[in-house]
């Protein structure tokens, strides 16, 4: 029974990592950029939800507003910071992403202060514990897992079956040829940022409901771990990001369960090192071939 509730914990944390990892992987898949500002989009989503609820907005509407704010921010970051560098070396893009990340964290600190502030999680999900056959499961855990899996199902449908989604896969595989099909590459990239940021927004709300506080730097560790999840799954691979997210969540919970709480972050980054050393393409990534 204890094992089962640990598995639920792992799924809960893992599904949040998976949602965030998807944003990293999709953006990397399409423009080969490790978008280090992705984690900070989560932070902004958390603040928007908290502040709008505090201002008296209905919590559901606040959640929608927070996700929309993330989408808007993701698209604006791409247009302002990354789009002008499309034909620049990838290292310029990477450094810019790190710069955007610092900018967002410091702006947040300036505007909202450096201290962590409580997040009104009970306004969004009523906290309660259900006893299912002797296993105690929190409503937050159930909601997190269900919402994440639904989001991933919708994403999979979008990418596999819709015209936009197929265009995304085409651009990610071969940008030049995608253009020859009549696909507008720039609008496809914008769409990718929008979708990835929407997932980050959803992840942000779920994360804040699980760990009910917001701070200007809350996105950086979450973002880094989701990045590890994306690398573990195979960066650029959508199913890989999902698998990687759940795997990292499980690993963290198991490390904690055996009484090594202090080691959780260490173990996650050790996984990164091991993957990079022995299987840099991750569990489900494509072999890296340079396009000529």
């Amino acid at each position: 029974m204890l094992l089962l509730s640990q598995i639920i914990n792992g799924l809960q944390l893992g599904s949040i990592y998976a949602l965030v990892a998807l944003g990293y992987s999709m953006v990397y898949g399409i423009i080969m950029l490790l978008n280090f500002a992705h984690g900070d989009i989560i932070m902004v989503g958390g603040y928007v939800a908290m502040l709008t609820i505090a201002a008296g907005v209905h919590p559901l509407l606040a959640v929608v507003l927070a996700v929309l704010a993330c989408v808007l921010l993701g698209v604006v970051i791409d247009k302002v910071a990354y789009a002008p560098l499309r034909s620049s070396p990838r290292i310029s893009l990477l450094i810019t992403a790190i710069g955007v990340s610092f900018l967002l964290e410091n702006l947040a600190q300036n505007i909202w202060g450096a201290n962590a502030r409580p997040f009104p999680n009970s306004a969004i999900i009523k906290g309660a514990t259900l006893n299912i056959g002797g296993v105690h499961i929190g409503t937050t855990a159930i909601a997190t897992i269900v919402v994440s899996i639904l989001s991933m199902v919708v994403l999979t449908f979008l990418v596999q079956k819709t015209k936009r989604g197929k265009a995304m896969r085409a651009v990610s595989e071969d940008m030049g040829t995608a253009q020859l099909m009549g696909i507008n590459v720039n609008s496809t990239i914008t769409f990718t940022f929008a979708v990835g940021s929407a997932l980050a927004g959803i992840g942000s709300i779920l994360y804040c409901c699980t760990y009910p506080q917001v701070s200007p730097t809350m996105g950086s560790m979450l973002g880094l771990k989701a990045f590890v999840a994306a690398v573990l799954g195979g960066i650029g691979s959508i199913p890989g990001a999902m698998v990687g997210g759940f795997a990292i969540g499980m690993a963290e919970v198991l490390v904690r369960a055996v009484g090594l709480s202090d080691w959780t972050d260490g173990v996650v980054f050790a996984i990164l090192i091991v993957v990079l050393l022995f299987r840099p393409t991750g569990l489900m990534g494509r072999p890296m071939t340079e396009k000529v």
């Binding site: 197929k166 265009a167 595989e173 071969d174 040829t177 253009q179 020859l180 696909i183 507008n184 590459v185």
Partner: protein, 235 residues
Amino acid sequence: MAMLQVDSINVFYGSIHAIKDVSFTVEKGEIVTLIGANGAGKSTILKTVSGLLRSRGGAIQFHDSPISAAAPHKIVSMGLAHVPEGRHVFAQMTVEENLEMGAYTRPQGEIAPGLERVYAQFPRLKERRKQVSGTLSGGEQQMLAMGRALMSQPALLMLDEPSMGLAPLMVEQIFDIVKELHKDGVTVLLVEQNAQMALSVADRGYVLETGKIVLTGNGKELLEDDAVKKAYLGG
């Protein structure tokens, strides 16, 4: 006026002047070929026409509209399709998904009849329509790349080295298809290293040497031209 009119384009890779004052035309209903050695600039010219590369100065007109500053996806929707060198199928997508991508600029209702037409032309693709296209043979990939381009219902089809890397029998087959398409009213601009093959199907040809057009004539004339024979047809 010609369907495609290219007027003194100049293309640079960094400081390398790859295409020097190249002009040519393609009339409606023709098969026109650009032949020349590896590195002569044939692919560069096609990429410039389809908007992937830009010319410094000069002009390109398609159906009387200037296209030299248009985005590649706009050019496709005007009816100009480009089958790139090396085929470039989307290897991780299925055959049918590749074909659907070819119809990206067309209304949704045209996809099913388009697939039917392409499958009639390339029965092999129909057999493999659910297969991931990276697993196709070279010849099948060439058929897919051509079928994909035809999904956009092009008025002008540009083929870049369709025979490259294919077995002789498959080369014959690909050229038979080119002739069929031509009969169906598709205008073709064909780039080839296999000059013999290209000139035998073409109405007219241009010979390209280090970025310049050095000779032009109809297919037969060029096949019998001494300089062409010597340089490209093995004596």
